[in-house]
Symmetry: C2
Subunit: 230 residues, 2 copies
DNA sequence: GCCTCGATATATCGATCCGATATGAGCCGT
DNA sequence: ACGGCTCATATCGGATCGATATATCGAGGC
């Protein structure tokens, strides 16, 4: 999951660890502000795998991939880090390591984004955040699969009895209701994403084997939901 | 977090690991069905700390603490395991380990439930699930603190600029909006919990230093939200 | 000039949790 | 009596977190 986020960010800009973390924070909210204890090992991991590489060249002031993405501070810091690293004698200067993505890394990024396993709740938002790296068809597929997963969960809950017999305390019931509401909202949210995507790709949607009409699913049962933010 | 869940379940019933996991699953949805790789180490941890203890006596058919809680299968299994463990010669029979909570465990449970740190999103639902072990005042405190935390997050987002400059792609924006909606819903949910709690404790709420009226907070700004389920 | 403070930056440690996997006992159908 | 099912405990490697250590640098106080 972290690998995905790192590759997604490096696809836009060469960055060093500290800046990487800050970006993730602003990008995905206060939470998911990944800790350094995860980030640096992840970077080493990715470097060893050949997906990222410590760059010695400066990232062009106007980026080659993403035109003028924000955070001048970060790029300035990267610049200075670079100067320090190159000017000093190879070893001894404790310069910042600026990482860049490799071709293998770009392939890996797309591969992870298109991964058919869509059951990881932490993972999915990150994939959405970087899904512009996917072609429209694959993106639509991603959204559809995620929706199917949520619908599956919803049906499962509405089917089974509330508890072992029927006795659940008030707080349990409240939790369940809350989860149900979030799940329903998420399915509706995905329907919106899917609809928007369908609009921009094909005006005339060809007959589809899988469900495409949103209404029946959402209004079906009150369904249910997992646990997350409350 | 796992410790809390285990203690909460054992407060109601003596159980063994396998059954513990199943209960957690039904209790908190398919997710949070804790893996054995977490559960068994947690049990050893708790046993070493003196919070739980492998019991040799059968849990009474009608439980001493919780009257006839569900899952007859589990209790039957526990019974058989017990029979096997006691009938066979001490060592050699690979009986199931049935755990029970100790007095120290009960104290620890209440302590964890009342922990002032309310920022862990995974933790909170579990605390709500077992908050009936708290006295009404502490429970109310828990809900209030959690609400304050969410309001803080909401204000933080509505305050800062959307991105570094203002450029965010469509999917990022959609994610943000979804998070905002979930956060708002969660605050409303907490308001409901707080209101219910206040009703059952005191009919006349005394003047409070902290915010108690729900309306102003929720309708304030559209705020924002973290990332969780989508 | 000096000195502290906070931001920048990298790295490591221990603990926790997950997912996969191994191992085995008891039960049921055929 | 056989394979296949649930039940049950346990361990392993890997990912992540939170705390902590270390070092540099710029801003500001005195």
């Amino acid at each position: 999951m972290l690998d995905l986020a790192v590759l997604g960010l490096l696809e836009e800009n060469d960055l060093h660890g500290y800046e990487l973390r800050k970006r993730l924070g602003e990008l995905l909210g206060v939470r998911l502000a990944i800790s350094f204890g995860s980030l640096y090992p992840a970077l080493n991991r990715l470097e060893k795998g050949g997906f990222v590489k410590a760059v010695t060249d400066l990232p062009a002031p106007v980026g080659p991939t993403a035109p003028m993405s924000g955070s001048l501070v970060g790029e300035l810091a990267a610049f200075r880090a670079q100067r320090r690293a190159t000017s000093g004698s190879g070893r001894g200067t404790r310069g910042k390591k600026v990482y860049g993505i490799t071709d293998a890394g770009r392939r890996r990024l797309r591969e992870m984004l298109a991964d058919p396993d869509v059951s990881d709740d932490r993972d999915f938002p990150v994939r959405v955040a970087f899904c512009h790296n996917l072609d429209p068809a694959a993106r639509l597929e991603l959204f559809r699969r995620r929706k199917a997963e949520l619908v599956r969960r919803a049906e499962q809950r509405s089917g089974g009895p509330t508890g072992p017999d029927g006795r659940v305390n008030t707080y349990l019931r409240s939790l369940l209701e809350r989860d149900t509401a979030v799940l329903a909202a998420d399915i509706a949210w995905l329907d919106r994403l899917i609809a928007d995507e369908s609009d921009t790709t094909t005006d005339k949607p060809e007959s589809d084997t899988t469900t495409d009409r949103p209404e029946s699913d959402t209004t079906n049962g009150t369904t249910s939901a997992p646990i997350s933010t409350p």
